[in-house]
């Protein structure tokens, strides 16, 4: 295990009691400190099971999971692992435990036995990080979904974790709520080097990650950069997934003869590439290649 690896899974196998099917089969992967990774896969592919392995909510039937070198099966490690790996789940209404926002954020450190003055400091800092300080004394049930998820994240930050795991944390949110949550975790990653593991059904969300893991029927079928993964259209199809809409459009345009960049996968990069192509076509002799901030290749 290299020095910078924070989570490592080796040959994980798992089967729920009473089930005839293997939920996970021989999955190995490692996540480095400061990385943002996405785990994608069809419903029932084992994503959430895998996610629960990351902080010892579930223990593997075979193989080992280590967090910062600590094996999750060793009971004496459980508390420390759960402090280091914070988990945000799908339903914003199931995760807040108290009625007032700041009490909710303080709940974790209080359980860790952190002294009250220190709790106060951590709660204020955590609410500031998710831009919810002005809601500190508000009733948590009255918040929007995106705000509730950000309070849930603040509750984890107050425990000073090293990894945030989001298990489809944006699935029930509207576009604004989703943006709020995603930009919050991305900022935590950039400013604090927080490691982020994002489980998602939205392929577009995975595009912004450093690496993507694809699960299908309990097996890891591919890992790579978003570019590598989302250009494997056949693999995605076989895994009941779909390429992001702009990738599909790009491929269709390329097939029709438009010179679009193969690396264009988002709205912005596809627009750059298309605008460049159209401008070159209308002014072929002008030679002003860099009049549009065209992307390379």
């Amino acid at each position: 295990m290299s020095a910078e690896t924070i989570i490592e899974l080796v040959n994980i196998g798992f089967q729920y009691a009473g089930s005839e099917r293997r939920a996970l089969e021989n999955v190995s992967l490692s996540i480095k400190k400061g990385e943002v990774v996405a785990i994608v896969g069809h419903n029932g592919s084992g994503k959430s099971t895998l996610c629960k392995m990351l902080n010892a909510l579930l223990l593997p039937c075979e193989g080992t999971v280590t967090v910062d070198g600590m094996n999750t099966v060793a009971e004496e490690n459980t508390l420390e692992i759960r402090r280091r790996v914070g988990m945000v789940f799908q339903n914003p209404d199931n995760q807040l435990v108290t009625t007032i926002v700041e009490e909710d954020v303080g709940f974790g450190p209080e359980n860790l036995g952190v002294p009250p003055a220190e709790i106060r400091k951590r709660v204020d800092a955590a609410l500031g990080e998710v831009e919810m300080r002005e809601y500190a004394e508000k009733a948590s049930h009255a918040l929007s979904g995106g705000q509730k998820q950000r309070v849930a994240i603040a509750g984890l930050l107050a425990m000073q974790p090293e990894v945030l795991v989001l298990d489809e944390a944006t699935a029930m949110l509207d576009p604004r709520g989703r943006d709020e949550v995603l930009s919050t975790v991305m900022r935590l990653n950039q400013e604090r080097g927080m490691t982020v593991v994002m489980i998602t059904q939205f392929m577009e969300e995975a595009l912004g990650c450093d690496r993507v893991f694809v699960l299908s029927d309990g097996r890891l079928v591919m890992e790579g950069t978003p570019e590598e993964v989302f250009n494997e259209r056949e693999m995605l199809e076989n895994s009941r997934l779909d390429a992001p809409a702009y990738v599909k459009l790009r491929d269709a345009l390329a097939a029709a003869g438009l010179p679009v960049s193969h690396s264009a996968m988002t709205c912005e990069s596809l627009a750059d590439s298309l605008a460049d192509a159209f401008h070159k076509k209308t002014k072929p002799a002008a030679g002003k290649k860099d009049r549009n901030h065209a992307d390379s290749n």
């Binding site: 419903n43 592919s45 059904q201 392929m203 459009l249 298309l274 076509k281």
Partner: protein
């Protein structure tokens, strides 16, 4: 006959200190066999509004007529609920019976139908949602996959043969294939059975692709209403409201910012694709 929403207002806990006006003065008609999309950010009143369509909530002002039946009339509600099928978010959490067939039969049974008729409807509904009865009828609903559970829950509503189907975020939490399956099922209900569809969704792309007409709610009021091309041509206003644009429209805007002007504010990827190819070959 349509569903007519006339000057509908709804205030939660009226007359108390906690009175909260959730809807004000909404007038909207949902035509037979129409696919109406409803969009609006969290708290805009979408859920409050759709709960009026089958009388789960009663107006505190104005009225709602379903095929001419006023939802305020208590004795009409049973009839209204058989006309308007309501599929809430994550309907699979409401599965409760031992077998899929029993679960789907729950609605028709409550309607007081004969055993034979119930049986026929259960088989019909399961077939419609793509869960062949011979394989799924006797399974426990809890052994199904996420997408199958969602479809089983939908079958429970379809077995009541509603004339209108109201769906609140029917694709939330499903994988891309599951989303596509549910959407094409909804679309085929409309095209083959003429079922009127009212779909609340955060996915502008799904609404753009399937809806004949879109109603935009904001702060409890009807902000605008019209065909997708009209609604999505007012992109700036939607963005200001905290809504997203369909991916096709976003690309049109991004191209415009780079000096490439297209004929329309396309809102469907397939149409944008043809337009770009046409332009390239022109």
């Amino acid at each position: 006959m349509p569903i007519q929403i006339e000057q509908l207002s709804h205030t939660y806990m009226p007359g108390s200190a906690l009175a909260y006006p959730a809807l004000s003065d909404i007038t909207l008609t949902i035509n037979d066999g129409e696919f109406l999309g409803i969009i609006g950010h969290t708290g805009s009143g979408k859920s409050t509004m759709i709960q009026h369509l089958n009388g789960l909530l009663q107006p505190t002002g104005g009225r709602v007529l379903v095929d001419g039946l006023d939802t305020r009339e208590k004795k009409l509600r049973k009839k209204i609920r058989s006309l308007v099928g309501m599929v809430f978010q994550y309907p699979e959490y409401q599965l409760f019976e031992e077998t899929v067939a029993k679960d789907v039969a729950f609605g028709p049974k409550n309607m007081g139908l004969e055993e034979n008729d119930i049986h026929e409807r259960v088989f019909e509904a399961l077939t419609l949602v793509g869960l062949p009865p011979e394989r799924f009828a006797e399974q426990s609903p809890f052994e199904l996959s996420g997408g199958e559970k969602r479809r089983a829950a939908l079958a429970g509503i379809l077995a009541m043969r509603p004339k209108y189907l109201v769906l609140d975020e029917p694709m939330a939490g499903l994988d891309p294939r599951g989303r596509a399956e549910i959407l094409s099922l909804i679309e085929s209900l409309r095209s083959t059975n003429g079922t009127g569809i009212v779909m609340v969704s955060h996915s502008m792309d799904d609404v753009a692709m399937y809806a004949d007409r879109i109603a935009v709610l904001d702060c409890g009021g009807l902000f605008m209403e019209g065909a997708p091309e009209d609604v999505f041509s007012r992109g700036e206003e939607l963005l200001k409201m905290g809504l997203a644009l369909p991916q096709a429209t976003r690309l049109v805007y991004a191209l415009r910012a780079r000096g490439v002007e297209l004929e329309h504010n396309y809102y469907r990827m397939d149409e944008l694709q043809s337009a770009l190819i046409r332009r390239w070959n022109a």
